[in-house]
Symmetry: C2
Subunit: 482 residues, 2 copies
Amino acid sequence: MQAARRTIPQILIEAIKGILGAKGWIADPEQMAPLLADQRGLYRGKSPLVVRPASTAEVAAVVRLCAHYHVPIVPQGGNTSLVGGSVPHEAGGEILLSLSRMNHILAVDPIDYTMTVQAGCVLADIQQAAQVVDRLFPLSLGAEGSCEIGGNLSTNAGGVNVIRYGCARDLVLGLEVVLSDGRIWHGLKALRKDNTGYDLKQLFLGAEGTLGIITAAVLKLFPKPREIQTAFCAVTSLEAALTLLAKTRAATGDALTAFELMPRVGFEFVLKHIPGTSDPFAQSAEWYVLMELCSARSDAGLRQTLEHNLAEALEEALVSNAVLAESVAQARALWRLRESLPEAEKQEGGSIKHDVSVPVSSVPEFIHTATARVKKAMPNIRVVAFGHVGDGNIHFNLSQPEGADKSAFLAEWGRFNRIVHDLVHELNGSISAEHGIGRLKCNELKRYKNPVELELMRRIKKTLDPDNLFNPGKLIADPEKP
Amino acid sequence: MQAARRTIPQILIEAIKGILGAKGWIADPEQMAPLLADQRGLYRGKSPLVVRPASTAEVAAVVRLCAHYHVPIVPQGGNTSLVGGSVPHEAGGEILLSLSRMNHILAVDPIDYTMTVQAGCVLADIQQAAQVVDRLFPLSLGAEGSCEIGGNLSTNAGGVNVIRYGCARDLVLGLEVVLSDGRIWHGLKALRKDNTGYDLKQLFLGAEGTLGIITAAVLKLFPKPREIQTAFCAVTSLEAALTLLAKTRAATGDALTAFELMPRVGFEFVLKHIPGTSDPFAQSAEWYVLMELCSARSDAGLRQTLEHNLAEALEEALVSNAVLAESVAQARALWRLRESLPEAEKQEGGSIKHDVSVPVSSVPEFIHTATARVKKAMPNIRVVAFGHVGDGNIHFNLSQPEGADKSAFLAEWGRFNRIVHDLVHELNGSISAEHGIGRLKCNELKRYKNPVELELMRRIKKTLDPDNLFNPGKLIADPEKP
């Protein structure tokens, strides 16, 4: 389908405007501009119209009209995709459908531990609404102040609490979805157990808007943590970090909610560029771990458990030094060492990024081998491998050699992708752990996904969206042929 | 497709025997008999051949041959289905494919917290293998001594730990599946995060063998519990039970692993029929709750938390009495009160069973209304509503009036199904919370599932199994037309 290259019929545009009313659309180029460009500045799409429906019925009406005229739709939430998943193609043949006006929290039930939300709710607002009734919605990630839940669910977002609570997919009980023929699937159930056939919601979760438009969801809530303990540790090796992870899970099991890895070089970037940060240790180490334990009990004695666990880890030479946060402010300061790393990285010039995962126990092998291979290709490259090691998810980022030319370095993106992704593939890992495929990684997906899987995906796409109406050119299509 | 009514060509049978060798098949009627009858004695199927492949390659070879001759296959694990999902049709036109010889645990990784198993592994063996490396595989249900993991995953089994660890679906990282054209999908990944396209494994989990044959899986493990606390409480009302549940989750959150409801009438059945049981309380109550808290920490002080929580619940008049297990033996005795209920029920004559779920907070409304409606239909009927109330999953069982004729009572099965399922439907619940649809509930599913959902299910079936080769007549087909 070459729809993205076609002109959108004026009669369709007028019909949509008529249905949605003045608040329901934007056609002013200046107002549309921020919605047409992706967050990383890699793509700048075109569209004659941004539609902003206020209800599921309006979304369905727009889809029916677009289906009639064979005009594709790009659904968009907070537009925080890191892979160009939420902006239209530059050919200008797609309608951009923003869910942002559908931002109502429909119900919060603390007895059920559930919340029902529209797709356009901002993640931070959902977290806040849970907090108000003494509950936790655990999905948490950098973009939480602007990303919207529909996008989080469509991309199966990850973030920092996955080790304890799972990805976005795991936090959903029910969905409401507009299908490619404009019908609404009313799957907004709040059931913990339902074995009446195929679990249809799983098809739309993580599908990056290519199979249906998620308009609402029933989310799982959890007890609100009452005790939080945070520690920053210098570990003696990558292998030691992994042993510490397994040991800490076993000793504190139900309580470990974050286990983040950070290399010395990244830590130095932070110390150098981020005001108010300092090294808590007298001696430097090659690798650091930030861990957090949470309990919904106020009397769980987590502090003591963590101290005991770290004392053992010191004796066993897994850890060479450790500091425990003594206050909320100190915990924030420790998190800042980890969370400001991407910002600090920017100050050091160009960075070639990889969002990969391997089985947790393969993390040391992956980092050692990948480091050796990229250094062979460019001896002075600076490897900044960090991230959610508790999930086997490493942001294997490569900073340019000191003093190198940024754009010349970034021109090597493809070559280093190949080195890193080839290794990930050898280790039975994933070339996109949490950011998805979008448009950026379509070709990488075709290269590494096994042919049976690709074919099954294409058949499912064909079954649910036979006319390729939803987000064409993303996820499974050839990015050059939207 | 009317394949189930056709004769199976002898040439196919000989070809399969040739590939699998002497150990790979059974044709002796006496040996086949237990595999052809379902556990509840509702169905007695026919088949000329039970095949018992020893490897995924052999499963694939059998599927390719059957596909060629258009002969359907019924996959079978431990044959513990409660809805006739794992036995062939009585017309005799299907091959029964048992996975029981594929019972090897392929890998256990305590650092990864994963285990890789073949589909024919018995659930209890998997639990045991996790235990050996100081880990927990939390899926736990009545049939665990004989059910097999392939069946557990194909039916998305539930059980007693769902409130903390989720259903079978939630415990899987990767799958290996033989597709309907005999190709193998190699999806045995051990990744915690992988956002590279549609999550194909979700299609096969819970599909009751109608979309593919699961041959192996990578399972999630958890830290092994070190402290377990068990309490049996008399609650003051159903509403109080629900408040107690929400309160206990909040106060002990990460630790509540079971919350089971039991009515006085069921408790009396147990006291009357199960030797060695006794009422721990001097006064009787209308409703009881069995709760269990687990922690992977040995120093978590759960006992104190539970005592404190129950003391508050007594003050708040949620609970009228409570007993805490002082030993493992006492905990077992308390669990026996709950677990022997189905056995005790049998001694009281016929029982019309419902495995339903509603949103957790709707449980009191469901039980009150359903009880009133069935008593209106038959005043002396004895309502035994019990089960996993923490998941909103009630086994709403109806015991015959005292002294009534058993078969006359059981002849009313359809009438009471209608009363109960109609109410479940009104409350946006599920007519099969954990047992699945199989053959028994095909017509009920068609009645209650919304048409959009049924159509999507049919399209997916058509996409993945266009010739209706896998388990025809189950889940989505007309049970009278396999």
